[in-house]
């Protein structure tokens, strides 16, 4: 199966894997390995990028990259956890057109920085509600205050 092969190729980078059912699989990966794994998924195996969901939790900033393997109905979630203070990850937009907007959106709403994104600035045409303020960030009691 595709997944076993993927796990073999990226044995070191895949930290954790969880399969809820045959059609829903989540792999927690090393953020540094996102680009090679995504390229492999997209170019070699023919996965389709659906979307990425960012969340802000106590662990830091998490992003789920959702991929679909059409024809089998498999949804593969690549899960990365980023640093609480300085969330940064390599951008995929140089490889795929389809991640361009969502990365800008996450940059805008969560303040996650995407390295080497072709055009990260000027996110909103008018920054009237999201300049210097990230509406989707949360505040947690136990943590020291998150810089917003």
């Amino acid at each position: 199966m595709v997944l076993n092969e993927l796990k073999k190729t990226f044995a070191k980078e895949i930290l954790d894997s969880e399969a809820r059912s045959k059609r829903r699989v989540t792999l927690r990966i090393d953020p540094a390995a996102l680009v090679p794994i995504s390229v492999h998924l997209f170019r070699e195996l023919g996965f389709r990028f659906i979307i990425a969901s960012a969340l802000h939790t106590k662990k830091g900033f998490e992003i789920y990259y959702h991929y679909s393997y059409d024809g089998t109905g498999l949804i593969l979630n690549l899960h990365v956890i980023l640093d609480q203070k300085k969330p940064e990850i390599e951008s995929l937009s140089n490889m795929f057109e389809s991640t361009n907007w969502i990365e800008r959106e996450m940059h805008e709403l969560f303040g996650i920085n995407f390295l080497n994104h072709p055009n990260l600035d000027q996110l909103l045409s008018e920054g009237n509600w999201a300049t210097g303020e990230y509406p989707y960030r949360k505040r947690f009691k136990s943590n020291e205050e998150v810089q917003t």
Partner: protein
């Protein structure tokens, strides 16, 4: 007959401003033009520019980006102009009123002459609202 009612005596031309809506109200307005409801039999016409219009139909909650544009469009309208707020969103902000981009229901921004509630209001309701508005003037 006052000046205002004189202005609105004959065929009214409508201009549609869709704010941050869910698009249903927009579609129901367009629906008014199609064979079943046929707004045009009252001489009403949806026009492409506010400069030609007598009535401004506003639907949807107004977000921070729409607000200056709505004001601008209102300023461009030849006066007197009637403003109709359509849908729950247009009247009060509806389900989106708690959102972080919400900039106030239509009547906080420009004076409104008629409210047509509903989510979305049926085309009949829109027609009835506009006809009532005409009776008022």
């Amino acid at each position: 007959m006052g000046f205002k009612s004189y202005c609105f005596k004959k065929s009214l031309w409508l201009f549609h401003f869709g704010g941050a809506s869910c698009n249903n109200c927009d579609i129901e307005i367009l629906d008014c033009l199609t064979p079943r409801y046929d707004l045009e039999r009252f001489g009403m016409l949806l026009v492409g520019s506010i400069r030609h219009a007598d009535v401004l139909l506003v639907n949807g909650s107004i977000n921070k980006k729409d607000k200056p544009r709505l004001l601008e469009i209102y300023e461009q309208a030849p006066k007197p102009v009637l403003v109709v707020a359509i849908g729950a969103c247009g009247c009060t902000g509806g389900i989106f009123a708690e959102g972080y981009t919400f900039a106030g229901p239509v009547d906080n921004i420009i004076p409104v002459d008629a409210y047509i509630p509903g989510c979305p209001p049926k085309p009949e309701a829109i027609l009835a609202g506009i006809v009532k508005l005409l009776g008022k003037n």
